[in-house]
């Protein structure tokens, strides 16, 4: 079985290799400090999961994504991700049609509710995802379409 730990250590080795070769030093440094550049560069939910070492995602009614039906301005779209399920490790917010899909990763510790709200940018109308990565390896998601309208005079 290809565990998450192995995947991480493999990518760490790769990063060291690239660093030695003078390639992608910024990526390696960022990862060393706890920022997963690969995940934030990924173009799709599947790619994000690969970068984070997650399983194939499954739709679930136990995960909630909150977002408006229509956003008057794509520059600021309120999005919330939450779940009442026990054993959630991480909650992610993704916007499918953004240049990079992943917007945010929240680590769900013991002292915090699995319930976060933030605001994201959207380049166009798109599905918005809340993804829960569970401690048993399951990856569950909910999605909602947000329509980004043209507001104002458009000039």
């Amino acid at each position: 079985m290809h565990t998450r730990r192995q995947a991480l250590s493999a990518s760490a080795k790769l990063a060291l290799l690239l660093l030695g070769a003078g390639v992608l030093p910024a990526v390696a440094q960022a990862q060393a400090s706890g920022f997963n550049q690969t995940a934030f560069d990924a173009k799709s939910l599947a790619e994000v999961m690969k970068a984070l070492g997650g399983a194939a995602p499954a739709a679930s009614s136990d995960v909630t994504v909150s977002a408006p039906d229509i956003a008057e301005n794509g520059a600021v779209v309120p999005v919330g991700a939450s779940t009442a399920l026990a054993g959630v490790k991480r909650l992610l917010v993704l916007v499918e049609k953004n240049p990079a899909a992943l917007s945010a990763i929240f680590e769900v510790g013991e002292m915090v509710d699995a319930n976060f709200s933030t605001r994201v940018k959207m380049g166009q109308s798109s599905d918005v995802y809340a993804v829960a990565m569970m401690s048993d390896g399951r990856v569950l998601y909910a999605k909602k379409e947000v329509k980004v309208t043209l507001g104002g005079c458009g000039g």
Binding site: K147, T149, G154, G155
Partner: protein, 217 residues
């Protein structure tokens, strides 16, 4: 000569009482002061020069009316003068490509000081800012009437047919110079003020009148 004094006094009293002043003050010519203020308050920026503050007869009269209807004779004169400016298409063809028309209708750009060029090619039609047009676009303004099913509601099945000619020409005139039929219309005079060229206007015509346009579904 002497008789004018009481009359003049009465006028001054009237103005003072309208303005609600407690003390008699010389009447201010607010219209002249406004012209002076406009002149002093603006400067050139990019393509937007101060000469844009100059008003033609229609703009001056409608500004002064402050939203009230114009005196009938003045309205008729302004509409007649603007009707004279309407130029029908040089090749007799009124209908272009509705798809390009839809793009123009969506485009709200053009002629601001942040735009680079005053050429029609750089301008949008701004149509959705004020009008509903296709059913698919839910982000539309309501300053102007809905244009959804514009051609269909007017029974236009073939814009080239003789029976469609009056509505086709009327629509062209509206786009070219809306003040030809409504002296104080809020709609920009797209042809008259060289905001859009003939080809662009034809594309907007197609959006409104082509039976294949989504507007007429």
């Amino acid at each position: 000569m002497k008789q004018q004094h009481p009359l003049l006094f009465a006028v001054v009293t009237l103005i003072v009482s309208i303005a609600g002043c407690a003390t008699p003050a010389p009447a201010i010519d607010y219209d002249a002061a406004t012209q002076e203020m406009m002149k002093n308050s603006f400067r050139d920026q990019g393509i937007a020069k101060v000469d844009r503050l100059q008003q033609d007869e229609a703009d001056a009269a409608c500004s002064k009316a402050q939203g009230a209807p114009l005196p009938e004779a003045q309205r008729v004169a302004i509409e007649a003068a603007n009707l004279k400016t309407v130029r029908m298409p040089s090749d007799g063809q009124f209908i272009g490509d509705w798809k390009l028309g839809e793009q123009l209708a969506q485009n709200g750009r053009g002629m601001t000081w942040t735009d680079a060029s005053t050429a029609p090619a750089a301008n949008g039609g701004n149509c959705y800012n004020c009008h509903q047009i296709t059913k698919a676009e839910i982000s539309y303004g309501t300053i102007g009437p809905s244009l959804y099913q514009y051609g269909k509601l007017r029974g236009v099945t073939d814009p080239a047919a003789a029976s469609a000619k009056p509505i086709v020409e009327y629509t062209w005139g509206k786009l070219w110079n809306a003040k030809a039929t409504n002296a104080c219309s809020d709609m920009p005079r797209f042809g008259h003020n060289k905001l859009l060229d003939e080809a662009q206007l034809k594309n907007l015509m197609a959006l409104l009148l082509d039976p294949k346009s989504p507007v007429n579904q």
